[in-house]
Symmetry: C2
Subunit: 463 residues, 2 copies
């Protein structure tokens, strides 16, 4: 996959070399000569990946990386640090400042391109999710998502697949300080476990004695349920073939054996953060959708949702020859509550009424706020007699209920009027069912309120 | 990227051969012996790609492919047909039955893997979008999206980048029968044009005399605006290096030169359909979000949106030392309308009131339905005097308006009461501003209705 790469280095010759390499592979290259310019270029172009030199005058690579990761608009862009240093402590410093990987000069081209492809692939998926998040933001929905790299990683759940006793114990001990670690030695069991439970990262050793770790990794990445779980593999230091293969098939990161525990911790943190970030982006979407179908005050379904489902449920009932009844309830003299006590108290009362409705209806019923003080309860598989029983019960509960209107104030007593209709198999629609219940409600209101009335259009006997 | 592949062939030896090839590349393989089994397997496993033999007893590959593409749950899965035939008419038949590509036996491994990687990559992005669509569906929002392969392609806009006069003319003539084609010979102009306009597919010749077509393709795929536009390249029949490179960098399809016009048309159709499908999935999301912030009846913003923006706008006004005023309007005796004429007429009246509000407020105002017959208009940069003028004007317009309540019926006259408050820089919040306006509304109601009252907490002079 092609992508736009920002190359940051203070030595012009190094820039030229990398630029030529990347261009010949048809990457789109932009460049920066120091950390400050890197931040400016990143903000302006939003590249897909940043290759960042460590040793630069002014602001070094670690500092630049930190600044990139602190910026909400840039924190999701993968950063690969490039350096002549190969000290463990430097690698760690880079990873801890938020870098996704660390490559040592002179750069091995195959390693560079394999890593880039893998990071760009993940970034493109994040872009899709971020785009959605932006839409929500523009439309006034405040997402919970702030920054890709400030997510809390504590409590994350890790699955470790490794049959090396000594190594396994050490890793469980180290990761167990922060995370909950599940250690499995058998690869078939691991496959089952990975689909049954929701892990935040899966670690697989490619040095299993009885099984092919890469095969397991491939299966996990091929399954819809586990595809987006970050996958990290252990590979033998000298086995670059397995390492390339793993990156190509879509694993998220790798560690060479013997495993450096601190580097492992740093790399794990990056993976878990990305997973949490991804989940936060997805949950914004869920929230938006959920807002679209619920009534903000009471938490019941809203009118739009009722209308959509009314038609579907009516159609289903007609197809299956089942009864379906609809109750429409209106609190009597509700206007007085608002006028006497103000809207805040009015809202309190409506919330309590909604709670009564939830308590008194079955889980198969669909309860919605229809507007103002009007509520609709759609009752599938409910014949006229059962519906009448439910409506009378509901009316009695409301009548007996003491509505709290704030601390200190004596509770309020209210009543409700209810209109009821049962679907007529011949010619009734969702709309007409609702209309008939509404007409019955009107009669209940005119008969003196606190009453249940049934639509006069009767269901023929024998149906 | 690893993926699950369904291999369909009636000859066991062929299955074994492909299975071994794919497995060694760490693909997860499932198999089927005929078209019927292929459909069953596809439904059960939802693979990421299907390799489909053409010549099979019972139901042949063309028929199987058609059935796959007709199924809403399967139509987005890429299908590559594999055949011993190499007749043009067969290729065409395959493409027209919805296949994404056509490979001739014996299969060239590099070509197979390059194509698979490219198709799987696109499929994974579609999966993300489809997942969202499913959420909407589960939550009762009916998306417009039905099937990936029934989209209407007419009217699509194509950008052709080719400096071969003869070939260009022929292509424009052929594609012009169905699409709107823009033909550009210069690659730099093409880059500018591609970002400025919204094309449904871009075709680039890699045989340009002055420029590198692949470089242009890479730039287009690297730009956020054009990244998701299907990209098709022309490559020389013998230039497999360019072909692989193009697939690897993420182009969507290719055609060999000399271009077979019918094959081009079939391949274009596949690309445009996918683009339309992708857009339909995205627009479901936009609709869901838009539903979340608007009031279903009137189309004004809903209470939730108002609450979110109220705080932001109040904060801004405080920061900039600007006035901000809030009007809350309640239609007088609205309950009578519902009780006398029913809810349908009540809704008609509310819609007309919302239209009045939209007409009478400025584009910088935020108008929301607060609930029932209550509306809020938030007016930035509006001092107490201007706010009072606006509120009185609004009250007069409502008083003079003839509300239509259905054909034949005489129009209805109604009045409204309005409460008004201007933000106090010392201690006011969004919440208290709203509360003060609501108190003023309460006074307006008690003073005999059809009146505007201003919150008694005055703004100090000189602010």
């Amino acid at each position: 996959m092609t992508a736009q790469i920002l190359v940051v280095d203070d030595v012009q010759a190094n820039i030229k070399l990398l630029e030529a390499k990347l261009s010949s592979e048809y990457y789109d290259v932009i460049t920066a000569r120091d950390g400050f310019e890197a931040l400016t270029q990143a903000k302006e172009h939003k590249p897909d990946l940043i290759l960042l030199d460590v040793m630069m005058p002014g602001m070094d690579g670690f500092e630049t990386c930190k600044k990139l990761k602190e910026d909400i608009e840039l924190s999701h862009i993968p950063v690969v640090m490039v350096t002549a240093l190969s000290e463990k402590s430097d690698r760690l410093k880079g990873l801890e400042s938020g870098a996704d990987d660390f490559l040592t000069k002179p750069i091995n081209d195959m390693a560079l391109f394999a890593r880039m492809r893998s990071l760009v692939r993940i970034k493109l998926l994040l872009d899709e999710l971020r785009l959605r998040d932006k839409t929500s933001l523009q439309m006034g929905i405040q997402p919970d998502v702030k920054n890709a790299f400030i997510s809390d990683v504590s409590g994350a759940r890790i699955l470790l697949v490794d049959d090396d006793e000594t190594q396994g114990k050490q890793i469980v001990a180290k990761l167990g300080e922060i995370y909950t670690v599940e250690w499995i030695k058998d690869s078939e069991q691991a496959m089952v476990k990975s689909t049954q439970e929701n892990f935040d990262t899966i670690i697989i050793s490619t040095l299993l004695s009885d099984a092919d770790g890469l095969r397991l990794a491939s299966q996990i990445k091929s399954h819809v349920e586990t595809r987006n779980v970050p996958l990290l593999v252990f590979v033998d230091e000298d086995d670059s073939r397995t390492m390339f293969k793993a990156l190509e098939m879509g694993i998220n990161d790798y560690l060479t054996v013997p495993v450096d525990k601190n580097e492992m911790t740093a790399r794990m943190r990056t993976q878990i953060r990305r997973k949490k970030y991804q989940e936060a982006l997805k949950s914004t979407y869920q929230q938006s959708i959920s807002m679209a179908i619920t009534d903000g005050l009471t938490g019941l379904y809203n009118r739009h949702y009722l209308n959509t489902h009314l038609d579907n449920m009516v159609k289903q009932s007609l197809q299956n020859g089942k009864y379906i009844s609809l109750m429409i309830m209106d609190m009597d003299h509700f206007k007085q509550v608002n006028d006497t006590y103000g809207h805040d108290v009015g809202d309190m009362v409506l919330k309590q009424l909604a709670d009564i409705i939830i308590q008194a209806s079955r889980s198969t019923d669909l309860a919605a706020r229809f507007g103002g003080e009007e509520f609709v309860i759609l009752m599938p598989e409910t014949d006229p007699q059962a519906a009448l029983g439910a409506a009378n019960r509901m009316r009695e509960i409301v009548e007996a209920y003491e509505f709290s209107i704030g601390e200190g104030a004596p509770p309020l007593r209210k009543t409700a009027s209810i209109g009821l209709a049962t679907l007529h198999p011949d010619g009734d629609s969702g709309e007409s069912l609702l209309k008939r219940a509404d007409e019955a409600l009107y009669i209940a209101k005119n008969s003196g309120r606190n009453a249940v009335k049934v639509s006069t259009k009767m269901v023929p006997s024998g149906w």
